[in-house]
């Protein structure tokens, strides 16, 4: 058993941690994907299951966090290593929040009851979710590969999500004004759209951390926060 790097044990621990983060990421992706599919099918059973599964995401996040802290406490990480661990602490928080959005969408699914969703609105929602999930997926890949270029590019795609959201917002507001009986339902959809829009923002934050690990600079990459037309939640 020859030793290649003098800190192979530590390197192995970091690798293990990265694998856990990816696992958490795929759990979150699955949750968002599942929540959207359940919403489309108006499948309350699936929605309840995903809602409950958020607990596992939270636990995973806490496990990774304490592993991070243990490594910081015992291994004296320096330079890139310490940025990596700090980034992971940030990234898992973002992932957990995305998981919470999926949970929120499931809750909306239940609140909507059996009522139908306007196909045009649904299309926007689905596009937003697809865009956001794609961003998340590529961001996690960029994290694994330490691909700074991709990480810098992804936040720009947030604009597309934002414009979809703005479209949907105007549409739903108009609908609510014209048909007061749809206010509650439209409001719920607006919430779902908002969650998806926030998800893209959180992916941007993740990308900031990826750039930080490699370059050491902390810089706002998401310049579109101001384009949102509602005051947010």
């Amino acid at each position: 058993m020859p030793i290649h790097s003098p800190r192979e044990t530590f390197d192995r621990a970091l690798q293990k941690l990265l694998d856990q983060v990816l696992l958490l990421g795929s759990m979150v992706e699955e949750a968002v994907q599942g929540a959207m599919e359940a919403l489309q099918r108006r499948d309350h059973i699936a929605a309840r299951r995903i809602y409950a599964a958020d607990q596992q995401i939270n636990e995973k996040r806490y496990a990774i966090e304490s592993e991070c802290i243990a490594l910081i406490a015992t291994q004296q990480p320096m330079a890139r290593d310490v940025r990596f661990l700090a980034a992971i602490l940030e990234i898992i928080t973002e992932l957990e929040r995305i998981g919470d959005y999926a949970k929120g969408i499931c809750r909306i699914n239940l609140l909507l009851g059996e009522s139908l969703i306007d196909p045009a609105a649904w299309l926007s929602l689905q596009q937003m979710a697809a865009l956001g999930l794609d961003m998340l997926h590529r961001a996690l890949d960029a994290f694994v590969c330490q691909d700074v270029k991709t990480a810098r590019a992804i936040p720009a795609e947030d604009d597309a999500v934002d414009s979809l959201y703005n479209q949907l917002y105007r549409r739903l507001v108009a609908q609510m004004a014209g048909q007061p009986e749809t206010v509650e339902r439209s409001n719920h959809l607006l919430w779902a759209a908002h969650n998806l829009e926030r998800m893209a923002d959180r992916v941007s934050n993740i990308c900031e951390r990826i750039v930080y690990v490699s370059t050491g600079e902390i810089k706002e990459l998401d310049s579109t926060e101001g384009n949102i037309e509602t005051p947010g939640n």
Binding site: M1, P2, I3, T9, S66, Q75
Partner: protein, 265 residues
């Protein structure tokens, strides 16, 4: 006490006190060391870390006037019982010292000597001495560096290599436990990291107890950590013992926390 102790311990101290003449250097240590784990003993200078370590293979007896009270159980047997042979204890509980101290012999002889001394036998299904020396040097992660100069003096190696040679020498007599008394304190940071990495590797096969004044090192290499401190009567005592991650993230005793955060008294 750690909650996840397996029932089988490599070595156990029970109410161990060590005296130098009338002075009690260490008092009432009760400690159970897990098998095939790295256990680190940390604490401020003079708190009796090395004293306790050296009592684990009766090396403290080489200091005149040293005596102990209490028991040290190795494989369930008190190594201080009158019928126990210190020579036998030291074969089975090996030791690596603070300063690399290779014998002024060839690299090969350094490893082979102890094995031969303890009646090394080769034969069917067993390694011959050359193979055994190679095995031990490989385990000590030194083989690649010395395989072409086995007949050179052990003193011709660098400090870090010398210390790994000393580790190879220690494992060549097939001990069950390896005691390490500040094994890297005389080495540069890279050599230190190599020794630490080696400890992790060796823990797959041996129980390792390491005394270090470098608590970062303890944090890096060990599975369990014992924190020793000095009482008002200047006798060393065990303050806290547990999983290293627990000791270094959420120590239970305020003295431990004070020490590892550098705010010690």
């Amino acid at each position: 006490m750690p909650q996840t102790l397996s029932p089988q311990y490599a070595i156990q101290a029970k109410n161990l006190s060590v005296y130098y003449g009338a002075f009690r250097a260490v008092k009432n240590i009760t400690l159970s060391i897990e098998q095939r784990k790295v256990t680190a003993i940390i604490g401020p200078s003079g708190c009796g870390k090395s004293t306790v370590l050296r009592s684990f293979n009766r090396m403290n007896e080489l200091t005149p006037s040293a005596s102990i009270a209490g028991e040290i159980l190795f494989m369930g047997q008190n190594i201080y019982a009158p019928e126990v042979d210190p020579v036998e204890v030291r074969r089975r509980v090996g030791m690596v010292f603070q300063k690399p101290n290779p014998f002024p012999k060839s690299i090969y002889e350094n490893v082979a000597w102890g094995a031969r001394l303890n009646g090394f036998r080769s034969g069917l299904g067993r390694p011959n001495m050359d193979e055994w020396v190679e095995t031990c040097l490989r385990k000590a992660a030194l083989w690649d560096e010395v395989k072409d100069k086995l007949q050179q003096s052990g003193l011709s190696l660098s400090g870090g290599q010398q210390q790994r040679l000393c580790i190879a020498r220690a494992i060549a007599v097939k001990p069950e436990i390896i005691l390490m008394d500040e094994p890297a304190s005389a080495l540069d940071p890279i050599a230190t990291l190599k020794i630490e990495e080696l400890m992790r590797e060796l823990a797959e096969e041996y129980t390792i107890i390491v005394v270090t004044h470098n608590m970062q090192q303890a944090a890096r290499v060990s599975d369990f950590t014992a924190f020793f401190s000095m009482d008002e009567d200047r006798a060393g005592a065990l303050v806290e013992y547990g999983l290293t991650t627990q000791i270094f993230t959420t120590p239970k005793d305020s003295r431990t926390e004070g020490y590892i955060t550098g705010r010690y008294g």
